[in-house]
């Protein structure tokens, strides 16, 4: 086994990096891949709670790097998915506790044992980002169809190219089909035209994602929700499969459209 190291990053915070990392890890483990995910957000760890593994942390990433524990001791195995492991971030330290070469060394030690190493990058373009990207074989950029997120994604894509880790691939997260139909949200095509990189997935806005986080049970685990399905599709594409994109921007039929227009005109008195 020689793992592929995939770093999930975004530039802007709050676009769904950690949710994406957790769900891709779950989806990959569910198709029989051995996966370890590393929380790269030292000082602001969250991957543990999203995965529902927060009560099982004894050692963390900084403990490994500083030699206080062996690699194995810091790896938490998910009891629901025996092929899924987590290396949590330290909560009481900051990004400077780990260097890019520490991350490269750590991943090299893990490579033999896994199919996939997923690194959840912190937001920003500083040390934490460079730590997360240093060992990457492939980089996934998460964005939302929204001006600030797209702008920051463009910046981070440029930095990934500068680090010679490109070309990055794109996940458009929290796409809202109803808003798109109203013409009030950038479409996936709009975002792709602006950023000009390869698309690897579109994840629709889905309340089940919040419910999943609340329970510590990523949506990909039950596989019934739209978002969960989207993450499973991305996991398969990461493994080289060709999976068609879900049709989320489907046009309404003419009757629905008429009904909606009438309602709007009543409201505006038009």
């Amino acid at each position: 086994m020689t793992a592929t190291v995939a770093t999930i990053t975004s530039g802007k915070g709050g676009v769904g990096k950690t949710t994406t990392t957790a769900n891709l890890a779950v989806a990959l483990a569910m198709i029989g891949k051995k996966v370890v995910c590393i929380d790269g957000d030292i000082g602001l760890r969250n991957l543990d709670v999203v995965l529902g593994l927060e009560n099982r942390i004894v050692y963390d990433l900084v403990d490994i790097v500083e030699g206080r524990c062996r690699l194995r001791q810091a790896m938490i195995r998910d009891k629901r998915l025996p092929d899924l492991y987590l290396i949590p971030a330290a909560q009481t330290r900051d990004k400077s506790a780990v260097s890019p070469s520490d991350m490269v060394r750590l991943c090299d030690d893990l490579r033999q044992e896994f199919d996939w190493i997923l690194i959840d990058s912190p937001a920003g373009i500083e040390r934490g980002f460079r730590n997360a990207v240093a060992p990457a074989d492939t980089v996934v950029v998460v964005t939302n169809p929204e001006v600030s997120a797209v702008r920051d994604a463009d910046r981070i894509i440029g930095l990934i190219e500068a680090e010679e880790k490109g070309p990055a691939r794109l996940i458009i997260n929290r796409l809202n089909p109803a808003l798109i139909r109203r013409g009030d949200m950038l479409t996936a095509d709009d975002v792709l035209e602006l950023l000009a990189i390869e698309l690897i997935g579109i994840v629709p806005e889905d309340e089940n994602v919040v419910v999943g986080s609340n329970r510590g049970q990523p949506v990909a685990m039950d596989g019934k929700s739209k978002a969960g399905e989207a993450f499973h599709n991305i996991a398969r594409r990461m493994n080289g499969e060709t999976v068609p994109f879900m049709n989320l921007e489907q046009k309404e039929d003419i009757f629905k459209k008429l009904a909606r227009m009438m309602r709007r005109d009543e409201r505006t008195g038009g």
């Binding site: 702008r151 013409g183 709009d190």
Partner: protein, 96 residues
Amino acid sequence: MAGWLDWLTGQKAKSAGQAKDRLKLVLINDRTDLTTEELETLKNELLEVISRHIDIDPSAVNITMAQEGREQRLLADIPLKPVTRRKPGGSVGRLK
């Protein structure tokens, strides 16, 4: 009425289009590290230098920033005024 008109013409409501147009400009600025004013200055200086050597019609000039993949390029379309209009008969006569 506006709703019906949009529906009939199949036009997109405003905000997504605005977002895209604004992002296009912002990304050009971010990628080239040039503000819109700096770009304007660059265009004017470019025209000034060219007019020193050849006769051009400034109103026909078209200088734009284009995106090709992730590459940004400056495109200049500068039609030249025909030489014959400046020097009637000049070099053509000598050839004969």
